[in-house]
């Protein structure tokens, strides 16, 4: 475990609360905010999280895709500006940018998420597929629709606020590369 812990790379200006669980080869880029009790587990291969992502409480990002050959593990790359809300479980193979994974959503390991998608609260997404840009998955039956108009806007303001507030209340993990 301690060897694994050493592999965690936190870039400067990222805010990572101390009591979250980060295991394996995880890279957290600058500008990210990781809330307490979040889990990032790089089980079978590294996880690279892009800039300005928010990972909330009980969110779990898990790379458990079995690599084709042991010396070439699958790297879960997550683009910038994603939000992983409370209790979401993400095992996707690849994630683009500006996606929102709402509370208690689930994305299985054979799904590839492009850009600007929203997985609404409680939606489960499994089965091999590639989500097109701006897809919204919503409702009890996980219907799909295409958002013509992005209303979620930017979450930069929220990030600014969290960057100001969180250091006052939490012990943070130090940046190390």
């Amino acid at each position: 475990m301690s060897r694994n812990e050493n592999k965690v790379k936190i870039m400067p200006k990222a805010i990572v609360c101390e009591d979250c669980i980060i295991q394996g080869d995880v890279t957290i880029s600058s500008g990210c905010v990781v809330h307490p009790s979040a889990q990032i587990i790089a089980e079978t291969g590294p996880i690279v999280i892009g800039e300005n992502c928010i990972i909330e409480e009980y969110a779990k990002i898990h790379n458990r895709i079995q690599p084709e050959s042991p010396d070439k593990p699958h790297i879960l790359t997550i683009g910038p500006n994603n939000i992983f809300e409370v209790g979401s479980v993400i095992e996707a193979s690849k994630i683009g940018e500006k996606n929102i994974f709402e509370c208690k959503s689930f994305v299985s390991s054979d799904v590839e998420v492009s850009n600007g998608c929203v997985i609404c609260a409680g939606c489960h997404l499994s089965g091999g597929q590639h989500l097109l840009e701006n897809t919204v998955i919503f409702g009890k039956h996980c219907q799909q629709r295409e958002a013509l108009d992005r209303i979620s806007g930017s979450h930069m303001l929220q990030l600014d606020f969290l960057r100001k507030i969180l250091p006052n209340y939490h012990h943070l993990r130090k940046a190390k590369q």
Binding site: V118, C120, A121, T135, V136, F138, G139, Q143, Q144, R145, E146, A147, L148, D149, R150, I151, S152, G153, S154
Partner: protein, 503 residues
């Protein structure tokens, strides 16, 4: 409390013969019977919008077709409400600027007080599925209230003509019927006016005049409307079977049914829908016409003006624990009984009536009721509205060993809540385990019938209890504190037969 764990273990028999948990039953103070929502009148007290919680007078509600003016349902996901969002945009807008405008978007309710009113434009957005009124081409509005363009639907004219036609037809029929009646009665009245010359003459003249009036009116049937056109139906295009469809652009059945007038096929026609209103209702006993429930008008209020919950009049039975159940072997169950009233209760646990007795009970109830309706003619109620009592559908599958004596439960005393000690009265019969303020725990023995593993074990008993009416008005005070002996039939689902082979 059963409902909180989503299964009913203890059910009471309503007067109409349905089994309901105590929490869903009412107690009519005047008939001294249990009532449920099935055997009572439901009356609409007031209309309100459950989103903005605004009270809407019933006349206005009718005018607005029972929909709220200011709240909209999302047509795409149907379970969420659209909220107005504001954008601050500069006037001639290019696509690029539009996006920038959205990035600074905020919701309105508080933001509307800002000073940039002139520049603020509003649109409706669903926060669940990200539907927005821009998706279907509704332009942004300068004010967030009430001015959203109403959706036009194609059959509106047709519906109006049909409606007008039938209204005219009803009117016409009524007139014809009235005229016939008059024609019949005039002869009679003429005859009467010959015998009696006082008041009837005038009325006869009046009637005559009225008759004349109707004669002058044209009695033509309203011009019948044309049946809807059976236009040539277009042939299906060939590519309908071959063209791949994009499911994202096609509406679901549910989405279509939320817009019954239009039933759009494409998501491009999903317009915001006005929210349906909700009601507050009062519930009235059908036998004595007294209210058992009457809520306050205020939509946010949870208070009642009249509340006759069974749970505050009838002793509540709860299962504390039950030993493993095996067929033909006796087991103990522990029950807790609570007295919710301000008077001591004497309780006797008795056998359930047999089938024949139950039929007799029902007959007697019907008879009683018939005599009641004959005697009180002023009553508005119609016997047909009264639900016939039925035989309880649930049959017990275990035998209960009845306790040999009755027992008393103390009255409710709110201050006793802070007493912690459990009193055991020596005079109590053996089956009483403990008592605590207005609660008592008893232990009874049950013997399940010859059942299979995992079969449900149901026991039932009639609970005979004393009930004292509390005088509510001064007129009643004369015979205050009347004591009644009432019965409640209780069915307990005590669990399933365990598989003793594994034990």
């Amino acid at each position: 409390m059963d409902f909180l764990i989503s299964q009913n273990y203890v059910n009471y028999v309503c007067q109409c013969g349905l089994l309901k948990p105590l929490t869903n039953l009412y107690f009519c103070r005047h008939c001294l019977n249990l009532r449920c929502s099935f055997c009572c009148h439901h009356e609409v007290d007031s209309h309100f919008c459950r989103n903005c919680l605004e009270n809407i007078p019933s006349s206005e509600a009718k005018l607005r077709k029972n929909k709220c003016n200011s709240c909209f349902d999302c047509p795409s996901c149907s379970f969420s409400v659209l909220s107005a969002r504001a954008t601050t945009i500069q006037v001639p807008m290019t696509v690029k600027e539009k996006q920038e405008g959205e990035e600074s978007s905020t919701t309105t309710s508080e933001a509307s007080s800002g000073k940039m009113v002139a520049k603020k434009m509003y649109y409706l957005a669903c926060l669940a599925c990200r539907y927005s009124s821009r998706d279907v081409g509704i332009s942004d509005q300068a004010s967030q209230n009430f001015c959203w363009p109403e959706q036009e639907y194609m059959h509106a004219n047709r519906f109006n003509t049909i409606l007008n036609y039938y209204q005219a037809l009803v009117l016409h029929d009524k007139q014809v019927k009235q005229d016939e009646k008059r024609r019949k009665t005039t002869n009679k009245s003429k005859f009467q006016s010959m015998t009696d010359r006082t008041g009837l003459n005038v009325s006869a003249i009046r009637r005559q005049m009225g008759f004349d009036k109707t004669v002058s009116k044209p009695k033509n049937k309203p011009a019948s409307i044309l049946p809807s056109m059976t236009e040539e139906v277009e042939e299906l295009s060939e590519d309908i079977f071959t063209k791949p469809i994009n499911l994202k652009n096609i509406t679901t059945i549910e989405q279509r049914f939320t817009q019954p007038a239009n039933q759009p096929e494409s998501v491009k026609h999903l317009y915001p829908q006005h929210k349906n209103l909700s009601i507050k209702r009062s519930i009235r006993c059908r036998h004595c016409e007294h209210n058992v429930i009457k809520p306050e008008y205020n939509p946010t209020s949870i208070k009642y003006r009249i509340q006759q919950f069974a749970s505050s009049h009838v002793p509540e039975v709860r299962i504390i624990k039950c030993y493993p159940l095996m067929p033909n072997k006796s087991a103990f169950i522990t029950l807790k009984l609570t007295n919710p009233t301000m008077n001591d209760m004497t309780i006797t646990i008795m056998e359930l009536p047999t089938d024949d007795e139950e039929v007799m009970m029902i007959d007697e109830m019907k008879k009683n009721f018939e005599s009641l309706t004959v005697s009180s003619k002023s009553s508005l109620m119609r016997p047909s509205l009264i639900e016939d009592p039925r035989i309880v559908s649930c049959k017990p599958t275990a035998k209960l060993e009845l306790p040999d004596s009755s027992f008393v439960i103390n009255q409710r005393d709110d201050s006793a809540e802070f007493d912690d000690e459990i009193q055991t009265d020596k005079k109590d019969p053996k089956f009483v385990i403990w008592r605590k303020a207005n609660k008592i725990a008893i232990e009874l023995s049950i013997t399940p019938n010859d059942l299979k593993v995992n079969d449900e074990v149901i026991v039932g008993f009639t609970m005979h209890y004393t009930y004292s009416t509390v005088p509510s008005t001064t007129a009643e005070k004369k015979d205050s504190q009347q004591r009644h002996a009432l019965n409640a039939r209780v069915y307990l689902n005590v669990g399933n037969i365990v598989d003793y082979s594994t034990k």
